[in-house]
Amino acid sequence: MRVPEDRASAASFADLALPLFDQLYNFALWLTQDKAEAEDLVQETYAKALRGFSSFQAGTNFRAWIYRILRNSFLNSRAGLKVTVVIDEEGGDGLPAVSSTPESLLMEQATREIVQQALETLPVHFREILLLCDVEDMSYKEIAETLSIPAGTVMSRLSRARKALRVALSEKKQGGGRGL
């Protein structure tokens, strides 16, 4: 990692960036699904963020900024290029209708593991938006900044992602998935 010229900015960078380490790693591994790639991605993110810290504008959202760097680095990685797809935001979501109510199944017997397995089956663009909203507790505005998409698209993509997750959970039930 390159050393910045300005110690003060390095100190404030550390203050802002280090507390996000665990979350960034969790997000990186959800994206890559590979431990080594996630570790490389986190290190690359910190190196790039430090190098570009002079362009970060104080008072703007640092968390969205560094997550955007991580996601961008992921998209440029070999693993990321494999999952890059053109997303039709306006068209139908191509998901089958949900006949049962998987939420009620969740109430009864869902476990953390089952939801994790269902999340793994989702396309990356659905998985990442669910993680940013529900795990990272980002506002729609922060998500829009992180993913570089309009706020309206955040709402529609999130809605489609949640529907896809319900379908995935429902399929686990129909496929005799463990515990469901």
Partner: protein, 250 residues
């Protein structure tokens, strides 16, 4: 308002994204509509389940130490305390100089950041086992491959008779925007050509001409609303020659 319209707002309600007035109105409806309330409850449970399931991975101690050390290293590079007082007047002068040069310095840093990013992309691609996603020496194969993948089109030069060979292309991202990344070969050197759409931001302020990024030779210019970067470890002359071919084609 019909129930299905309320339900369209349920996610935003649960995510805390409605205005206080909207949230109050929806809250009142939920108290009077058992079906919507049940739907809302299920969505809350789903959100909570994702919240728990999503916190899944913890970084290794090795990685934690590696990152922490990279920051520690910087704090030890400070100036020895006994020199600090002697430096105060000098710092005053430096501050004045800094004010004069900060604007230009900031602009230059921004340029260097973009160049470093491109150098990273170039190196990472060459290190990859799959350097290109479309493998072809034929510009009539490579150019159409980008259709639908990037938000613009571009022209590529015809190369017969030149020393340059087109190896293929891939999609690259710079500042969250997709663009074309082409790889050319001259003798044993591989050269990256990046093409991005002009977004009217800092890219426009980049100077045209030869540059240097992480010891790579580079040439950049703007033409027809597109920003071109040619970067590689080939000689300045080779970079310039390939740039000329691209400029004439574009």
């Amino acid at each position: 308002m019909a129930c299905n319209e309320w339900r369209d707002k349920l996610d935003s309600y649960i995510d805390g994204e409605l205005t206080p007035a909207e949230a109050a109105t929806l809250g009142a409806h939920l108290r009077s509509c058992a079906e919507c309330a049940a739907d809302g409850l299920q969505r809350v449970q789903m959100k909570r389940a994702v919240q728990i399931a999503g916190k899944r991975y913890e970084p290794s101690t090795d990685l934690r130490n590696k990152i922490a050390k990279s920051f520690e290293a910087k704090s030890h590079r400070g100036i020895a305390p006994k020199w600090k007082f002697a430096l105060i007047p000098a710092l005053g002068l430096l501050a004045a100089a800094f004010l004069l040069t900060s604007y230009f310095g900031r602009e230059r840093r921004e340029q260097q950041r973009v160049y470093s990013e491109l150098a990273d992309l170039h190196v990472a691609t060459l290190a990859s086992s799959t350097q290109v996603d479309v493998i072809s020496t034929d510009r009539h194969t490579v150019k159409p491959w980008f259709q639908g993948k990037i938000p613009f089109t571009f022209n590529l030069p015809d190369l017969p008779g030149s020393e340059f060979n087109l190896l293929g292309g891939r999609v690259a991202y710079l500042e969250q925007v997709s663009g074309a990344h082409l790889i050319y070969q001259v003798r044993k050197h591989e050269i990256s050509v990046f093409i991005f759409q002009d977004r009217g931001d800092e890219m426009r302020s980049l100077p045209s001409g030869p540059e240097n990024a992480a010891s790579f030779n580079m040439q950049t210019w703007m033409k027809n609303g597109l920003r071109y970067f040619v970067i590689g470890d080939a000689s300045k002359e080779d970079i310039k020659a390939l740039s000329k071919l691209l400029q004439d084609a574009g």
